[in-house]
Amino acid sequence: MHALFQKIAALPWDQLPQWLFLIPGLLMLLAAFAAVCLRNLIHSALCVVLSFICLGVLFMALGAEFVGFVQLLVYVGAVAMLILFAILLTPASEVQASNNPLSNFRLSSALHAAAGAAVSFLVLAGLLAAIAFSPRAANAELPAQPAAAPVALIGENLLTYTLLPLLGIAVLLTAALVGAALIAKEDSKS
């Protein structure tokens, strides 16, 4: 008993925290996969939200807390809501069709799905190959000083080096706001 305890204690536990990012990472992939596969749109959207949350946690695990929380705030608080509202506002045939998939089966759609899957698999394979054979990725070392992005530094950067992009983003967001409202507005005729 004592020996087992010591054996467990002797494992390289000190390296554990830096591999913890795998949990949100894999969960994210799982959720994303579920989102792609589920036929019910709301379930898909909820899975995507879970995957976004995991992505945010992953950012935090990688030391970018600010980005992580921004990801949560923007994606979970805003984009997810947009998506869910959009789904509710567009009663699509896909939700109804999910009741009996066989009746909706058509050769062309199967071909379509197969082609899409093949292409994305190709892309995945290409990317993985590139990652696997890239010497720089393989030899990358964590910098001596752990990466950190204090919020003050981000603020300073925003208002100095990236001031112009910031202004651009401001204009873009305003334009998107107005544009989205205009596009989604009901025609006065109808």
Binding site: A64, T90, A92, I131, I183
Partner: protein
């Protein structure tokens, strides 16, 4: 090793996003796929920043922040377009909205 795993995760997320965008007929799912791909891009930014030689110049973080902002704008406009398309065509199938084809 860690960077490679991170990149692999990101590549897988990208491929899943692409899969959603390629196979799903519903325009909203296509948009979701695009959001996933943008998320994969952000993950790359953060990973490379984490493993860069000079993390104190927080370029990757800044990029990710801007990318998130743009993604939000894209989602808003994209979904508004989807709703409008639905209003016109009573369908959100991306292949039905083909009235501009040659």
């Amino acid at each position: 090793m860690m960077l490679q795993i991170l990149l692999a995760i990101s590549a897988a997320l990208f491929a899943l996003g692409l899969l959603a965008a390629l196979t799903r007929r519903n325009a909203i799912m296509v948009l979701i796929g695009i959001e996933l791909m943008l998320g994969a891009g952000n993950l790359n930014f953060i990973s490379f920043w984490k493993f860069s030689a000079h993390p104190e110049t927080i370029t990757g973080v800044m990029f990710a922040i801007f990318s998130i902002a743009i993604a939000a704008a894209e989602a808003a406009v994209g979904l508004a377009i989807v709703i409008q398309v639905h209003r016109r065509l009573h369908s959100v199938d991306v292949n039905e909205a083909n009235q501009l084809k040659g």
